[in-house]
Symmetry: C2
Subunit: 298 residues, 2 copies
Amino acid sequence: MFNGLSAFPLTPLVNGNVDEKAFTALIETLVAAKVDAIGALGSTGSYAYLSRAQRARVAQRATAAAGDVPVVVSIGAVNIDDVLRLADDAQQAGVSGVLMAPVSYQPLSRDEVYRLYERVSQAVAVPLCVYDNPATTRFSFDDELLIAVCQLPNIGSLKLGPLSGTRAEASARLQALRQAIPETITLGISGDAHAAAGLLAGCDVWYSVLAGLFPHAARRLSQAAFQGREEEVARLNAELAPLWALFQRYGSLRPIATLAELSGAAQPPCLPFPLRTLQGGDREQLAALLSGSALRPE
Amino acid sequence: MFNGLSAFPLTPLVNGNVDEKAFTALIETLVAAKVDAIGALGSTGSYAYLSRAQRARVAQRATAAAGDVPVVVSIGAVNIDDVLRLADDAQQAGVSGVLMAPVSYQPLSRDEVYRLYERVSQAVAVPLCVYDNPATTRFSFDDELLIAVCQLPNIGSLKLGPLSGTRAEASARLQALRQAIPETITLGISGDAHAAAGLLAGCDVWYSVLAGLFPHAARRLSQAAFQGREEEVARLNAELAPLWALFQRYGSLRPIATLAELSGAAQPPCLPFPLRTLQGGDREQLAALLSGSALRPE
C-alpha cells in the first residue's frame, strides 16, 4: 500500500457540500489506472475544511469505489479527540491505512509531536503514514525525531518533503533512515516537482497530487524514475515544468483544482471558500497544458 | 472597547473539558482590575482546540461574569460556515465585538483574505477586530490590504503584530494607516514583549496576553507607555524580561499557562493535548518571577 504510486484526489465541492458524483468518478479513474493506493482526504482532498460527518462519508465513498485498491485517509485535526474519532470513522469505512501530519493551531514542539504520534499510533489498528509537512503545520521533523516516531506501533510509512542537497546526499540520508527504522516502514516523497528526484534517490513511493487527477502522467514519470531512466525523467519533468512552477507559486491545490475544473472533472468553483482556483493568464496556461501531450491519459 | 488594555485570558482545561470555575474566576479577576475589554477565546484562550458547543458556552460564561466590561471573542475557523455559526453563537451570548485572524489550512492569498473578511464583516452586527497573526496563519497583511479591509462594514480595530523599524518609522506607519482608514477604527498592538513600544509609537490599545492573568502588571506597563514615561516603561520591561524571553522561545501560551498552574489559577495540565506547559528550569524561572515584584497585583 505504501509503495509505488499513491494518488491524492481532490474532494470537489459544490457550495461547501461534497460533490459525491464527481468524487466517485475521480476514484474510478484512479482504479482504472491501477494506482498502487488512493490517498483520499489528503491536503489535496481538503480534509481540513470538512466536518467529521463529511469526512466519514467521503471515506466510505472512497472505499466503496476503490475495489481492491487500498485507500488511505488523513485523520489530522487540531483537537486530539477529533483525531481519534476520525481514526475510528476511517477504520469503520474500511480504509487500509491512515495518514497524519502534526496539525495544530499553536506550532508544536518536538516533544509535543512525539506525544501526539504516541497517542494516535496506539489508538489505530491500521498502518499510519507520518507526514512531514512544514508548509501547513509549521513544524519540521528532524531525522532523529522521525526515527523515534518509527519505533512506535503501527507506523507504516514516512511521507517526506523534497530532499535537500545532491543526489548522493539525499541517498545517504535515506539509507541512514532505513538502517535506523523497522524494515516494514517505507520512505515516501511528496512535493510533485521534486518527486522524481526523490524516487531516483531511493524513495519507495510517490505521494502524488498529480496522480490524483492525471494518474497516467504520474505513472509515466514514476516508472521512468523507479527504473532509473534519467533522461526520460528530465524530459517528462520539462514537459510538466509549467505546472510545477504554478505549484511552487500557488501551492499544488489551486492549480490541480483549476485543471479539474478545466477538464470537466469538477464544477467551478470546486474549492472551499475562500480558496480560489486560478484565473486569467494562469488558467489559460493550464488550459494549454491540458490540450498538450504532458497530461494525456495514455 | 477597542482602546486601552484588552486582556486575553486562558481557557483552562481539565481532560479536554473547560474548567468553568477556573475560567469564571479569571474573568472576575479581570473585572475587578477594571481592564477595558476582555478578549475571551483568543489564541491564549485555546479557541482553536474547542468545539462549537464549548466555544458558545465559554462565550456565555464570559459575558455573564464580565458585567459591564465588554467581551470580545474569536470566531476564527478553517471552514467558513463554522465561522458564521461561531459569529452567531458569540452574538447570541451577548459579546460586544468579535475578533478574527485569517485562519486557514492552506495559507491564503491576499485576494482570498479580502474575500474572507468581506463575507464575515457583512454577516456580523458587532464590530470586528482584524488580527494580523502570521505565526498561526502563515499570512502577513500589508498595509494596502489592511486599508482595503477597513473599508468593509463593521470593522472596529486592527490587531497588529510587533512594529518594525525605529520609533519614528513605526509612528509614521501608524499615522499613514490612520489617515487611510475610518477614524472609528482603532490601532492595536499584540506581542507582549514589544507592546509598550507599540503604545509609545501611538497605538490605541494593547491586546495583552499578560493582562489575561496579571492585569495589574499589564496596567502598570500600559499606563506608563500611554503617558509617555519612557524610563518607567524600560524598567518594567526589564523586570519582565525573563517572561518575554520565554514568550519568544515557546510562544506566549505555554509560559502564561505555566504561570496559571503555578499561581493556582488553573489545575495542571491545563493546556489542550499535546501542548505542554513548561517544565524543569523554565518552570522554576517562572516560579521565581511569580514570587518577585514584577507580577504583583498592586
